[in-house]
């Protein structure tokens, strides 16, 4: 890149980034709402919460239906406002409507919206747009070995915290010279401090001992170097938590040989993608792990690995566990802990019965059979339920 184009690009980017305050970290912390002072969105309508539901594509719609079914059965005081996003539409109206609905309600449950990567770059990934517009800066995935699910490794308990809005996913690409494409990866001090702070706070709240930062600072010295520096800075404020760092390729190697050594992991966007998918695969696959995207004011819950599952759509073979556990995370977020633990317990007891395992776990069970079994488990142990 010539110096002139660098300066031009810096000029173009400068207005996007507010000038850094001289106090840096301390000021950034003051601007954030700590989780301890978090209040759930108010249940305005007769004590019932309204949650935006975006079914998405592939297996999304059928799983969303099962969530509604289960919530109705358990008499959960949540009403869903369904917003459909048509991924074949090139206009961004649908996704903007969804974003507006989420701003209104504060929380959402979503399926993955397909991105046709053969369309030109003007068509941005809808999921990415949602995340960046609502500033859902932390993507959290808790991967735990589940009893009853056979995997190569046991006793895994890793929380992956991934920066969700910048890094390689900035969608800033250009072709200055025909045949030469440049893609920009942006790392900023503010966002790195923010995600590191989120990671350490979460670790402290959940009583975790160790946070590992995953990076490639030996090659990307300035970018990942900045990220690492921010993590170190935040770590100094949490003396009871051990902080270490690991290069991403070594991390993946360690994950497949000895995943039990990891506790909480924090990383920029792309490495987060890789590591969270590896962790999900290690505990049993995309059908089991829920994911949560937290921002300062909004929270969106989905399956951890964000797959559309196009090939198994509408066949009643999808594993509903991930989506149902995501709905439990949603209930926890709304402070409806009673319902959350009731549903979670029922899901875990169903999972241990291998006769009900769906195809992704090597069984022959169907989605509806699993959901039915969960409802039966709740009926036998829960307070009151409502059958149709």
């Amino acid at each position: 890149m010539t110096t002139r184009s660098v300066r031009a690009l810096s000029g173009a980017l400068k207005p996007l980034f507010s000038p850094r305050s001289p106090q840096g970290y301390v000021v950034a912390v003051c601007h954030q709402t700590h989780k301890s002072t978090y209040t759930a969105p108010p249940a305005r309508y007769g004590g019932r919460h309204t949650v935006t539901l975006i079914p998405g594509d592939g297996i999304g719609p059928e799983l969303a239906k099962h969530v509604c079914e289960l919530f109705r059965f358990c008499c959960v005081p949540v009403d869903f406002e369904v917003v459909n996003v048509d991924s074949t539409e090139t206009s961004e109206d649908d996704i903007n409507n969804a974003i507006m609905a989420i701003r209104r309600n504060g929380v959402a449950l979503k399926g993955n919206i397909e991105t046709n990567h053969n369309l030109p770059p003007s068509y941005k990934s809808r999921n990415s747009l949602l995340r960046t517009t609502l500033d859902l800066y932390a993507s959290v995935m808790h991967c735990q070995s589940l009893p009853g699910v056979r995997t190569q490794h046991r006793n895994i308990d890793i929380i992956t915290i991934r920066e969700n809005t910048e890094g390689e996913y900035s969608s800033l690409e250009h072709e200055n010279v025909p045949g030469v494409v440049e893609s920009l990866k942006i790392i900023t001090r503010t966002k790195s401090l923010r995600i590191a702070d989120y990671a350490f706070r979460t670790a402290r709240e959940k009583g975790r001992r160790r946070v590992t930062a995953v990076h490639k600072a030996n090659i990307m010295k300035l970018g990942d170097g900045l990220f690492l520096e921010c993590c170190k800075e935040v770590a100094s404020g949490y003396p009871e938590i051990t902080f270490d760092s690991m290069i991403v390729d070594n991390t993946t190697m360690q994950l497949v040989s000895r995943p039990q050594q990891f506790d909480v992991m924090v990383m920029p966007n792309l490495y987060g993608n890789v590591v969270s998918n590896v962790c999900a695969g290690l505990v049993g696959g995309p059908g089991l792990v829920p994911g949560a995207n937290y921002g300062e004011n909004y929270a969106v819950f989905e399956t951890g690995t964000r797959n559309t599952g196009k090939s198994i759509a509408n066949r009643n073979t999808a594993n509903p566990t991930a989506m149902l556990l995501a709905s439990c995370l949603l209930l926890d977020h709304l402070k409806l802990h009673g319902y959350a633990s009731m549903i979670r317990k029922a899901i875990l007891s169903t999972i241990t019965d291998s006769r009900l395992h769906t195809a992704d776990l090597g069984g022959k069970g169907s989605t509806s059979e699993m959901v039915q079994s969960i409802m039966d488990a709740i009926q036998s142990t829960g307070p009151r339920t409502q059958r149709h």
Binding site: L9, M220, L226, V256, G285
Partner: protein, 362 residues
């Protein structure tokens, strides 16, 4: 001065190697770069095993410590470059990168000097070295010159850094065609392009387009595309579904190390770097292990398997099979194993066991 004169004469005699020397009596000359740390001892092990196997290879040892050339640019010693250019094939042990030495890493220097554009890592499960994953048999082909490792970074304003990922049509075309060529030459059924074009539409989109174009020319090899996260997810659940994977630099770095982890780590994984002008350098990708250097404890498997890969590249399949079988049988037997493989034998004992096995085979 007498010694100096003698060494000059000997040096002169050593360096006068006419072009024909490479092919005397069907013997191929290969440049050997022993490297640092455990490099020299594992290189010796490989040379001994090749001798026992009666492989038609003559080794030309060279050193690649960086020196400052004219104009102040760092480069590898001219005799090393000359040797590689002449022989075209090289075998390299681990090189240490001293921090703050002022020069770029040696591996980077070699890559730039010979335009080593493809990094090939076949990952095959080793019987006798148990890992939670069995029957792994895949090859990762990674673009080695551009992508996220172009090293172009800027500080835009204080606290905002941009790193540039460069994808060019030329490099993508070259690596895609190499991947299909490799698949065809090694009887591999399919090639999968790994990308993230849903997010990085232009850059990975370009890479993907070039892969698709190359697939058109090689209709006998099946071509599929898969997102990076889907590959990672499926790789740790069932690695047997993958065959040849081709991808840009960063994804290649992560995935090739992931696959190495599946079969047992860098101590048993071979690797080859293919360059322009027919140059190919095969190497072990583990570190220099300074803590066990010189103690006869090192495991030469990685370098040995890389050397076997080299023999296959040169077309010497018979010798390659012989050495590989001897190595795998020794590991499977579990009687003589180095410490990292779970035994407590010395490097020399392990080497001897392999040589003995080959003698028994004859």
């Amino acid at each position: 001065t007498a010694n100096a004169q003698l060494s000059r004469v000997v040096g002169a005699a050593k360096n006068e190697t006419p072009q024909s020397r490479t092919f005397i009596r069907g013997i191929q000359t290969v440049t050997l770069i022993p490297g640092d740390g455990i490099g020299p001892e594992i290189s010796n092990a490989v040379m001994k095993i090749f001798e026992a196997a009666k492989a038609p290879i003559r080794w030309e040892e060279r050193n690649v410590t960086a020196i400052r050339g004219p104009g102040g640019k760092w480069m590898i010693p001219p005799d090393a470059k000359e040797s590689m250019d002449k022989n075209k094939i090289g075998l390299k042990g681990p090189l240490k990168t001293p921090i703050a030495a002022g020069h770029p890493s040696m591996n980077l220097l070699l890559r730039k000097t010979f335009d080593l554009y493809a990094n090939v890592r076949p990952c095959v499960s080793i019987e006798g070295y148990q890992t939670p994953y069995t029957d792994v048999n895949l090859v990762t082909i990674r673009e080695n010159t551009e992508g996220e490792y172009s090293g172009i970074e800027h500080v835009i304003v204080d606290g905002v850094v941009q790193s540039i990922k460069l994808i060019t049509e030329q490099a993508s075309k070259r690596i895609a065609e190499y991947a299909f060529e490799y698949a065809r030459n090694n009887q591999r059924a399919s090639v999968t392009a790994v990308h993230k074009a849903n997010i990085m539409r232009m850059s990975d989109g370009l890479f993907l387009r070039k892969c698709r174009e190359a697939a058109e020319k090689y209709k006998d090899v099946k071509f599929t595309e898969m997102y990076l996260d889907t590959v990672c997810l499926n790789m740790v659940q069932d690695p047997t579904q993958f065959d040849v994977l081709v991808m840009p630099n960063l994804y290649g770095d992560i995935l090739s190390d992931l696959c190495a982890g599946l079969i047992g780590g860098l101590g048993v994984t071979p690797s080859g770097n293919i360059g322009a002008n027919g140059v190919a350098i095969f190497e072990s990708v583990h570190g220099t292990a300074p803590d066990i250097a010189g103690k006869d404890l090192a495991n030469p498997t990685a370098l040995l398997l890389s050397a076997v890969m080299m023999l296959r590249h040169m077309g010497l399949h018979g010798h390659a099979k012989k050495i590989e079988t001897a190595c795998f049988d020794t590991i499977r037997d579990r009687k003589v194993l180095t410490k990292d493989l779970g035994g407590n034998s010395k490097c020399s004992e392990f080497t001897e066991a392999i040589c003995q096995r080959m003698k028994d085979m004859d």
